[in-house]
Amino acid sequence: MTGMDTTTTFADRASKRAPPRSARRVVGLSDRAVVWLFIAPTMLLLLAINIFPLIWAIRLSFTGFMANLPRPLGFVGIANYVDILTDEDLWTNFQVTAHFVFWTIALQVLIGLALALLINQKFRGHSFWTTVILLPMMLSPAVVGNFWTLLLQPQIGPFNYFIGFFTGAPASSFTMIGSVKLAPWTIVMVNTWMWTPYVMLICLAGLRSIPEFIYEAAEVDRASPWRQFWSITLPMVTPFLMLAVLFQAIQSFEMFDLVNLLTSGGPGSTTELVSITLKRAAFEKWETGYASALAVILFVTVFGAANIYVRVLNKVKQQ
């Protein structure tokens, strides 16, 4: 409580005083020391647990090291990278990942934006229902993903019955996880279920940031609601949407837990995302060198794409 009191008194005094001087002499530690004292621990931790391992991974990626065999590193040059970049099967996994990333984002954006627009109509009880919609994204993907295998069981799971109820198809006539055709869409569906609320929330923020006078002006100009949507709402929401896409793209590209527990990559390799391949290479086959090379490639891809994207985003924002 004293803290609050001092604050108010200082606030009062501050408001009465002349503009604060920026250069000042203070008792105790110098500002410089304080800065380093405050920032250094975070930086050190990040260096130790992010940068150092990354550098180590780069080094390992040029070796044939296997963490479960007691033997020296054995430098192999760029052999791992050549292996990876010429491996057709791995290329398939990248395609699977691309399919997954593209469709989850497309669906999330579409549904998320639509929901945000509807919620923005501010019907009675809209904030309660918004909270309800947000729930899936707050839960543990691994724990929930595991449970989806029960929901999607053709005979004992409710999902097929639910679909059957609306389409008339017998419940055990199709299998969402087991079929080569449906499985890639199943992971898209579950991921969309989980993360659409995220996109929706960001869109909602975008919608609420639009100053109302713009619409007023449009009304005066007798622009139709349709035109208002295309020329005001959408452009104003776009930067927000792009931010959502960035975060979701990184997230889906790195997706491991949900899909691994849902399909473990099958049937065949139809849902084997790159991160699942990486986990197998690194922690089951223990091909540490090869896995490190794959990890480096993934990291460069994410980091490079994100950088380019952020630049585009900034340009859009400026407009």
Partner: protein, 444 residues
């Protein structure tokens, strides 16, 4: 060689860490590591005698099959002294021997007159020897196991079905003796309405993540001419792994999957099979013998309703996939002497007999080849036969990559219809060559 999913009969909710069973004379305790399943319960029961006789208490670390290999290989690799004794998978023996995770037992066997002659030859090769077929022993055969089949005896005995089958195939409806017959019988049952329920022909392993589909498909491939390598030239695989016969074997497995697997079981291993069989969904089921004592006693499908047969023959022979584990002493243990004393105690004929009686599966010739055993249970005769026709997967130090490569190739073809069996096996040879090169062996 059971690694993944499962558990008949026990353990709900994860890892079991049982407390020391009885008073600790001299405060000595040994920790035994194994998988959490039915036979482990039998072992706890059996070990009470050991504690009584020696005063050494036993502690247990039983881990679900899903984490069994990962968990213990990690411990062994980090030289952890958590386990004194381990019942490790047959596949680990190469790595365990080359990395000295286990204590070599030759001198100990000699000194204590424990002869490997007294165990089934396949189990000695599978659970004790590295390099294979040389007298270098790293474990004592502890739990004999192999793939076998169960069938619904009551369905096979239905007069109308028998008549229909005879009219169609000009022979009696009997448990299949060859893979062709297996396919025919499976097709015959698939889609039939029995007791008001639509049933399917046969359940086979299709699990992708660990070892399931490999442990299934090999049962067909061995019998159509698949070999791991040239018997005359170690690690030479071209024309053996991907021989036309091997490809044919894979085709037969796929045909069985396509026609007769219950819907949704595209990533299924031991327990899904047990479920499918127990719920009356399938006429025949592939599974490990370790589960058969439980099935034989099952209130719903056991007793008169269940029959057992060994893996059917193919054009080039009759083999079956080996399972099971050996008992080894962990080199990092702080009490190797007492651990060896345990092995010595466990190897005694009387203990081996009691082990089987309690629900374990001794690999001792004296136990398995006795008439009493063959009469003891309906699956016993076919189990004894099966143990004489087993083959095992690679037990190389790098068996995991070998296994995962095969998992992917087989699942891609059998379940996901990718390419042809020949292409899948050609690709597999390529994968395996890469692994052997990494291991420093010459696969050319």
């Amino acid at each position: 060689m059971l690694k993944s999913f499962s558990i008949a009969g026990i353990v709900t909710a994860g890892f079991v860490a049982a407390a020391p069973i009885s008073a600790q004379a001299e405060g000595k305790t040994l920790t035994m590591c194994w998988a959490a399943w039915d036979p482990a319960n039998a072992l706890v029961e059996l070990d009470k005698d050991f504690t009584k006789q020696t005063g050494i208490a036993m502690k247990y670390e039983f881990v679900p099959w899903t984490s069994y290999a990962d968990h213990f290989i990690n411990l062994l690799n980090s030289r952890s002294a958590e386990c004194d004794l381990i019942i490790g998978d047959s596949q680990w023996i190469g790595g365990a021997a080359e990395n000295k995770w286990y204590v070599k037992l030759n001198d100990f066997f000699d000194k204590n007159h424990i002869s490997m002659e007294s165990f089934l030859p396949a189990t000695v090769v599978g659970y004790a020897e590295w390099p294979k077929n040389t007298p270098n022993y790293w474990g004592l055969p502890a739990m004999a196991d192999a793939v076998g089949w169960t069938y619904r005896k009551d369905w096979f005995a239905k007069p109308d079905l028998r008549a229909e089958f005879k009219a169609k195939y000009k022979r009696e409806l009997e448990p299949p003796k060859t893979w062709d017959e297996l396919l025919e019988v499976s097709k015959f049952f698939s889609g039939k309405l029995i007791d008001g329920k639509k049933v399917y022909g046969s359940y086979i392993f299709t699990e992708r993540g660990s070892e399931g589909i490999t442990m299934g498909v090999t049962n067909a491939m061995y019998n159509y001419g698949f070999e791991y390598m040239d018997p005359k030239k170690p690690y030479h695989m071209d024309g053996f792994v991907n021989s036309p016969g091997a490809a044919k074997g894979m085709d037969v497995y796929k045909a069985l999957f396509d026609c007769c697997q219950p819907p949704g079981l595209t990533n299924a291993y031991m327990q899904e099979g047990l479920d499918a069989f127990k719920s009356g969904e399938v006429a025949m089921q592939m599974n490990w013998y370790a589960f058969f004592p439980g099935l034989a006693k099952d209130p719903k499908v056991g007793g008169d309703k269940i029959g057992f047969f060994k893996n059917p023959a193919g054009p080039t022979g009759q083999f079956t996939q080996l399972g099971g584990q050996g008992l080894s002493v962990v080199a990092a243990s702080k009490d190797i002497e007492d651990s060896l004393a345990y092995v010595k105690w466990f190897a005694q004929p009387a203990v081996q007999q009691k082990w089987t009686d309690l629900g374990g599966a001794s690999a001792s010739k004296a136990v398995l080849e006795s008439d009493a055993y063959k009469k003891s249970a309906p699956y016993a005769p076919s189990f004894v036969d099966s143990m004489a026709m087993v083959k095992d997967f690679w037990a190389e130090p790098l068996y995991v990559p070998l296994l995962l490569d095969m998992q992917n190739r087989v699942h891609d073809y059998v379940v996901a219809n990718k390419g042809t069996s020949q292409q899948a096996l050609d690709a597999l040879v390529k994968d395996w060559k890469r692994v052997f090169t990494q291991e420093g062996k010459d696969p050319s």
